[in-house]
């Protein structure tokens, strides 16, 4: 059976993450960054609760603002990438709350850069790591690239 991933849903997700993390930096809002982190982690644990993807599915796609772009792909590496990003944002928030703003915003900035690489260049760093771990036979990373 073909496995399908809507690339547009992923890109909307990445755009929200980038936009809101940049906004949280501009406003110096640790809580906004924390909300982004929670959304990312919750969306990883329970994909159907992914807030930004639901905004795409229930608002942007029906309104014709974003067209679907469904390709054959595994969803698991993208979930892993989001989970990794969510953990990085959580660490960033912890650093900010611990009074380490340079470290905190640097970690959030790294998430922005990685999401931007995915959004604009099409390189998913988390997916790359997932497939390398699959190649090494690490338990839990069971999916190979779809051929």
């Amino acid at each position: 059976m073909d496995r399908k991933v809507d690339q547009s849903a992923l890109k909307v997700n990445q755009a929200f993450i980038i936009g809101l993390l940049l906004l949280s930096f501009v406003l110096d809002s640790v809580w906004l960054a924390a909300v982004v982190g929670m959304v990312m982690l919750l969306g990883t644990a329970v994909p159907r609760l992914s807030l930004f993807k639901r905004i795409y599915q229930h608002l942007l796609k029906p309104a014709g603002l974003v067209r679907p772009h469904v390709i054959t792909d595994n969803p698991e590496p993208h979930r892993f990438a989001q989970g990794f990003g969510g953990v990085m944002v959580a660490l960033a928030v912890a650093a900010l709350l611990a009074g380490q703003p340079i470290l905190g915003w640097a970690l959030a900035g790294l998430v922005v850069v990685l999401a931007a690489l995915n959004l604009f260049v099409g390189f998913c760093a988390g997916c790359f790591v997932y497939y390398q771990l699959n190649r090494l036979g690490v338990p839990g990373f069971t999916h190979r690239p779809v051929q």
């Binding site: 501009v26 406003l27 110096d28 595994n74 260049v121 390189f123 497939y131 190649r135 190979r144």
Partner: protein
């Protein structure tokens, strides 16, 4: 730090990042052209397609390339599509400075690199680039 200072910092970092990316891409084109100039024998534009088994979106890129090839070739073979599996040809990956997959490189009829695309590249962008070397209308 005030809000406008943070906005300025983001803008600055964005500009620097874009500049670095553009510069790296141009440097790579020049470096690859210096390396391949002596070997080039093709008399037609060539689209090199670097792929690997661990590259998740490479099958999708292959489909996009097949679509472009079918639309532009018309049975006349106006350009060459050359897939390169870097798992079997790591020397090619090194020679062309491949940093990510998939990467597509457009060479003109003289064998010079004109465009490099990092990551999944949609058919319309490939067709636009082929037009710049005289393929398609």
């Amino acid at each position: 730090m005030m809000i406008w200072e943070r906005l300025l910092l983001i803008l600055l970092l964005g500009l620097v990042g874009t500049g670095v990316f553009t510069a790296v891409k141009h440097l790579q084109i020049r470096r690859v052209n210096r390396r391949i100039l002596a070997e080039s024998t093709a008399k037609q534009p060539t689209l090199l397609y670097f792929r690997s088994e661990t590259c998740a979106v490479c099958p999708t890129q292959a489909r996009y390339l097949a679509e472009v090839l079918a639309a532009e070739e018309g049975g006349n073979g106006r350009f060459i599509l050359q897939p390169i599996d870097i798992d079997h040809h790591p020397d090619k990956a090194s020679q062309y400075g491949i940093m990510t997959l998939p990467t597509t490189m457009l060479l003109d009829a003289a064998g010079q690199v004109r465009e490099i695309n990092y990551g999944l590249t949609p058919p319309h962008k490939l067709r636009q680039q082929l037009k710049s070397v005289g393929i398609g209308t």
